[in-house]
């Protein structure tokens, strides 16, 4: 404590010679002294990712089902999602600026549009891969269209949908960092601030945490997929 107070009143007298002062890439003291801002950034990162991907999923399922049911809808839905996916993230956030202003909603809206693309494509591929015999068998057992969709088609599309969900989540974790341009970038904020002040430890720590979050989210979803599709477990091994 005296050292901290001393630094405020009389700087340069006892300049600490630690990894922070030397601006090293790897710095344990950075972790201990900035644990609070790191936690806040990680939480914001997780929140932005989770909210965007969940909204994307809620929108993607009906769109994919509609594209499956009505053939004329498939072309426009796939075309539009391809166009959205081609637009670079920085431009996407910028195009949404007049609508949302400098807000977290802007980042979420941009990420929803990207997740939507990946999810619609994969869910549609999953629905299309349901064998016709399976569908006919269910109809023969007296399943109506809604029951067929909910209890046969959608569960069978889960593996393809989960593959899309994993890609969408990992991409979203990475794209959240670009949200730093409007101040809502989770760990991206720390990277942006670290760039402006040449703070190596901050940039490296935040970058590594991003990758860890991406890998952890991917593994978590892989676990969820295993739980949701017990019938696939034996087949793979």
């Amino acid at each position: 404590m005296p050292a901290l107070n001393g630094q405020v009143t009389a700087p340069q007298v006892t300049a600490p010679d630690d990894c922070l002062a030397r601006n090293e890439w790897i710095c344990g003291k950075y972790l201990t002294t900035r644990s609070e801002i790191l936690t806040d950034a990680v939480l914001q990162h997780l929140e932005l990712t989770a909210v965007s991907v969940l909204i994307g999923l809620v929108l993607a399922v009906p769109l994919a089902v509609a594209a499956r049911r009505w053939h004329w809808a498939a072309g426009p839905v796939l075309g539009l999602t391809t166009v959205l996916y081609t637009i670079p993230s920085l431009a996407m956030f910028s195009l949404l600026l007049p609508v949302y202003g400098l807000s977290a909603a802007l980042v979420v809206a941009g990420l929803v549009l990207y997740s939507l693309t990946l999810l619609v494509r994969n869910i549609l591929a999953g629905l299309r891969a349901v064998p016709e015999e399976t569908r006919q068998a269910a109809r023969g057992m007296g399943y109506g269209p809604i029951r067929l969709l909910l209890t046969v088609e959608l569960p069978l599309a889960v593996p393809a949908a989960m593959a899309g969900l994993r890609i969408a989540t990992v991409s979203a974790v990475s794209l959240v960092t670009v949200g730093a341009i409007v101040g809502y970038g989770g760990l991206g904020n720390l990277i942006y601030a670290g760039m402006n002040t040449y703070f190596k430890a901050q940039v490296l720590t935040a970058s590594v945490l991003c990758v860890i979050i991406a890998i952890a989210a991917d593994l978590l979803l892989l676990g969820v997929q295993r739980l949701l599709t017990p019938w696939q477990r034996g087949a793979r091994g």
């Binding site: 670079p88 920085l90 910028s94 007049p98 341009i181 970058s207």
Partner: protein
């Protein structure tokens, strides 16, 4: 609506198109960065992928590298490079980051394309007495071309996007119009820059689409076959 009109006014003002910060200069920078980095990435990735695919080795690496590339944030890599000694050579960090993100899709698609060549065709070529080199150039490469081109297309779109983010880390290109707009708190300029970037990306994607349609039948993607 007012913002859209302001953005339109920004785009139609000739003063915004000339000079060092003008659209023409930024557009040229973006185009040069994209093309140069695409060529460098192809020169690095394609020979490796073709040889690995021909030998049937290193598949796990070639396929997983794409997933790794997706998990690493572009922006983080740009800033990390900026803070290393590479950061001192002007566009150095941008070029290195662009190449790093363009290599994975090229490598994965070219490798998968090579491995998906019908094995019976390869065996027939071997039966005809072709050497390994002849099989690679005359049989596998032509048959893998649609997948290789698909990788080039994904890489090109990725390059345009990454070059845009490079502006956040002090790089050149059209993204600079957007970041300058944010610094000036000019929504009109931000939107105008975003429209230019989006149009650029869609034109690149469109050119590949047209090239694919014009290609001879055997060189087209599986969707067309």
């Amino acid at each position: 609506m007012k913002t859209l009109r302001d953005a339109w006014d920004w785009l139609t003002d000739p003063a915004n198109w000339s000079g060092g910060d003008g659209v023409w200069h930024r557009l040229t920078e973006h185009l040069v960065l994209t093309v140069v980095c695409l060529v460098i990435s192809c020169l690095i990735a394609l020979p490796i992928a073709l040889v690995l695919g021909h030998l049937g080795k290193g598949g796990a690496l070639a396929v997983n590298i794409s997933n790794v590339g997706r998990a690493v944030p572009t922006f983080a890599v740009l800033v990390l490079l900026l803070l290393t000694p590479i950061g001192k050579w002007g566009q150095g960090p941008t070029v290195v980051a662009l190449v790093l993100f363009a290599v994975p899709p090229l490598l994965t698609n070219a490798y998968v394309g090579m491995r998906e060549v019908d094995r019976s065709v390869v065996q027939a070529a071997r039966g005809m007495g072709m050497t390994g080199r002849q099989m690679l150039w005359r049989v596998e490469l032509p048959l893998a071309l649609p997948m290789i081109m698909n990788g080039v297309r994904i890489a090109a779109v990725q390059l345009v996007a990454t070059a845009t983010i490079a502006a956040l880390a002090g790089g050149g290109g059209l993204g600079r119009i957007i970041t300058a707009g944010f610094n000036l708190a000019s929504t009109a300029q931000v939107v105008a820059g975003a429209v230019l970037v989006a149009a650029f990306a869609l034109i690149v994607e469109g050119l590949f689409e047209i090239a694919e349609r014009l290609a001879p039948g055997w060189a087209r993607g599986r969707a067309a076959a």
